[in-house]
């Protein structure tokens, strides 16, 4: 018998919501980052784990402190600071002094993320900004790589170059793919990153477009310009950047067309910086530069709503970046 005293709830449609939350998405990303962590510990030892732990702990702490100081609701439960911390650690060598790791966390969480309004409002990927700040501030520490423990071939102990540097020891494509090469903590093992990519695509956390087109285009441009495509793709930060950082929701376009434009732009910039530039961090700089263009890419690659004729469609406004007619006096 239905009981009249059962009080019933009123709620607007839709009455059901998916179980996907920001926290669950971030947990999926963390899971996808774990293979690379395993590879990093195998290659670079416990020190890699320490760097990751310090980066994660300090990132979460900075976010917590920021929320406390600014009297905002505590957002650390969404796990996004953990993802940022892990990505930051993956972007530094395992030998980096720990205080520098903490500085990186501060840059990523406070300067790049919270000052712009927190999750969903950052203009660029926080870990990328931190990597660039660290490599500009501490160029020597940021390029002091150690040889991996599990090297297949003999590598000189401490050098200061990845495979991209001309003086580097020539590794086979297989070694490069496996990741037994020198480099920053999380970027050396292409195979671990590919596993992470598969996890992200299968769980529909990201689409395949940006990583595949970005890496594919770099491969193609390398062949066309006479560079070794395997070295270009499997060493340096390309795989890590393409899978985990160029796919950051907040700082990448939303439509497929936008994603294609974004990925091709990344590939062109990366190749320009790597082949003809004179600095490291080709991937980091190209992601940073393309991040800045995302509002414009979004505005100009918008899908036409169903039933609106293409001629009448004025595109979506570019949000706060839109230059408005009523902005200027003249």
């Amino acid at each position: 018998m239905p009981h009249p005293e059962h009080s019933l709830t009123l709620f607007p449609a839709p009455q059901i919501l998916s179980g996907v939350t920001t926290r669950r998405i971030m947990a999926t990303v963390i899971a996808a980052l774990l293979p690379a962590l395993v590879a990093a510990v195998a290659f670079f030892g416990a020190r890699a784990l320490l760097v990751v732990a310090v980066a994660v702990a300090s990132s979460v702490l900075f976010e917590y402190l920021w929320c406390r100081l600014r009297k905002l609701p505590n957002t650390t439960h969404d796990l996004s600071a953990v993802v940022t911390g892990m990505l930051l650690a993956y972007n530094v060598p395992s030998t980096l002094p720990l205080y520098m790791v903490v500085i990186g966390s501060f840059v990523a969480i406070v300067l790049a993320k919270e000052l712009f309004g927190g999750i969903g409002r950052n203009f660029a990927n926080p870990a990328i900004v931190a990597r660039i700040v660290l490599s500009v501030s501490f160029p020597v520490a940021m390029t002091t790589y150690v040889a991996p423990n599990l090297a297949l071939s003999d590598i000189d102990a401490i050098t200061s170059a990845t495979q991209l540097a001309p003086s580097a020891h020539a590794a086979s494509p297989f070694e490069l793919f496996l990741g037994t090469q020198m480099g920053v903590l999380g970027e050396t093992s292409a195979v671990a990153i590919v596993v992470g990519f598969v996890i992200l695509v299968v769980t529909r956390t990201i689409t395949w477009h940006v990583p595949t087109i970005y890496v594919g285009a770099v491969f193609l441009f390398s062949v066309l310009t006479g560079h070794d495509p395997f070295v270009q793709v499997f060493s340096g930060g390309l795989m890590l950047g393409a899978v985990f950082m160029a796919t950051d929701y907040t700082t990448s376009p939303v439509t497929v067309r936008g994603k294609v434009v974004f990925a091709l732009g990344l590939a062109v910039l990366t190749c320009l910086i790597r082949f003809w530039g004179n600095m490291n961090e080709g991937v980091a700089y190209s992601i940073l530069l393309m991040n800045l263009l995302v509002p414009y890419i979004d505005a100009h690659t918008a899908d036409v709503p169903v039933g609106v004729s293409r001629e009448k469609w004025k595109g979506i406004p570019a949000g706060r970046f839109a230059r408005r007619k009523d902005n200027a006096d003249a």
């Binding site: 239905p2 059962h6 709830t9 919501l17 996907v20 769980t203």
Partner: protein, 454 residues
């Protein structure tokens, strides 16, 4: 699973079908025969059981009514007459409240158990298309998929540009299986209604549109339609909301309904499959719409099933028929995506309802809204290719110009954006408000332009 995807599936090439989101179907009642329930103790007939204005009660307290007696007369164009579903005595004409706060007048009838048919009922005499429309005016049939648009008005179109008669059997709402049972149990009246309409209107081609996961219904309806070369079965992707008019028309014909336009502007007419069946049944026996099938489901229901209920049966009695397993905390009339929650146990099932969901705990806690992470799930799953995220922002800014640019008036309130949002933002609600605002603004602008022209 998160819902990152493209609006056209993983593969970017090929026919660009509108897709929507993956939402678990939960159609456990689909394979059970429809049950009947005993005569309810009261029948409550609200005067609004359609999209338009309220009907005027045609009976007074103490009057005797039979099955099919006119109870509410439709004066507005977009309303449809309401007929008694029982024989009995009118005991009360009272006010009732909708869960959105609106009030309505309802005729309350106490059944006498005889279920005698009204004397005026007879098989309609149909000779041409105009007589079909006239007959439908006396049928009380409205769009039974949930819209409640009067069928006679929907039939009253200029067929000069119409080349296809679409039958919507997508039934994309989770949990609901009443249209599916209609196909499995009453394919004959569906086909009768459809062929009569095709004969009289002269429309050369008809498609019965079914979602691809309903394989039994597809093969069954293919057999039923084999005798008529005009009728084909169109298969839709297994995604919510394939049954929405714009999506269905686009995916079956490749044409779009223009912004602010009507489904006939795409050269098609579109009828729900149960509506089609009721048209066929009315043409055979002339009894107005007095009962319909609803799916009763939810974790608080002991025996989920499809039930044939008399229009006007209070929710309480339907739930009693199916049994309760748990304490009830939420009742949803319609499907979980577009249905509304009902707080009145005595509110009746009306003719455009297709489901009744009774839950104990599910969705009881108000979802915790967190910051938008700009994941784009709402955008990539919007079946109308709208920008719910931007619409919500513009609505909050009060930016009417941006809302018009974003075509917020195209929203059909399917609820997909809110469903997929990982931040649990109230996107559907914001877009619904924005939609009404833009529609009103465009209407005002049209009127102003007309005045200028005149």
């Amino acid at each position: 699973m998160a819902q990152q995807g493209t609006r056209h599936g993983i593969w970017p090439f090929g026919p660009r079908k509108l897709r929507g989101a993956d939402i678990p179907h939960n159609k456990v009642t689909a394979d059970q025969q429809t049950t009947c329930m005993s005569l309810p103790s009261t029948i409550v007939l609200p005067m609004q059981q359609h999209i338009g204005a309220k009907c005027q009660p045609q009976v007074a307290k103490g009057d005797h009514v039979d099955v099919g007696t006119l109870v509410g007369h439709a004066e507005a164009r977009t309303s449809a007459d309401i007929f008694s579903s029982v024989s009995g005595t009118v005991v009360e004409i009272r006010n009732i409240f909708y869960s959105n706060g609106d009030t309505d007048v309802a005729v309350v009838i106490e059944p006498d158990g005889a279920q005698t048919l009204d004397g005026s009922i007879g098989v309609p005499d149909i000779s041409d298309y105009q007589s079909l429309i006239a007959a439908m005016k006396r049928s009380g049939i409205v769009g039974l998929g949930g819209a409640g648009f009067p069928t006679d008005l929907k039939l009253d179109v200029d067929f000069a540009h119409i080349d296809r008669w679409l039958v919507n059997a997508a039934e994309c709402e989770p949990y609901i299986s009443s249209d599916y049972r209609e196909m499995m149990e009453h394919a004959d009246t569906i086909m009768h209604g459809l062929t009569t309409c095709l004969d009289l209107s002269g429309v050369p081609q008809a498609s019965i549109c079914i979602e691809e996961d309903k394989t039994e219904a597809i093969s069954f309806m293919k057999k039923q339609a084999a005798s008529d070369p005009r009728v084909e079965i169109a298969v839709l992707p297994e995604r919510y909301p394939q049954g929405a008019g714009h999506v269905l028309v686009h995916n079956v014909t490749g044409r779009s309904i223009p912004r602010g336009g009507h489904v006939t502007d795409a050269g098609v007419v579109l009828f729900n499959v149960t509506t089609m069946s009721m048209i066929g049944k009315f043409l055979q026996d002339g009894v107005p719409l007095t009962k319909r099938r609803i799916t009763v489901m939810g974790d608080a229901v002991a025996h989920p099933q499809n039930v044939e209920v008399l229009v006007g049966t209070p929710i309480r009695e339907v739930v009693e028929h199916c049994g309760l397993a748990k304490e009830v905390r939420k009742i949803i009339v319609g499907g979980p995506m577009m249905g509304y929650s009902q707080v009145d146990w005595d509110y009746p099932i009306v003719r455009q309802n297709n489901g009744l969901l009774v839950f104990s705990e599910m969705g009881m806690e108000k979802p915790r809204t967190t910051a938008c992470i700009r994941c784009g799930a709402c955008i990539s799953s919007c079946p109308m290719r709208l920008y719910p995220r931007e619409i919500q922002n513009s609505y909050r800014r009060g930016d009417a110009e941006a809302l018009d640019k974003l075509a917020a008036d195209l929203c059909m309130k399917c609820g997909t954006c809110s469903y997929v949002c990982p931040a649990k933002q109230p996107l559907t609600q914001a877009t619904r408000l924005a939609c009404d605002q833009v529609k009103a603004a465009r209407k005002a602008a049209r009127r102003a332009a007309q005045k200028k022209g005149a």
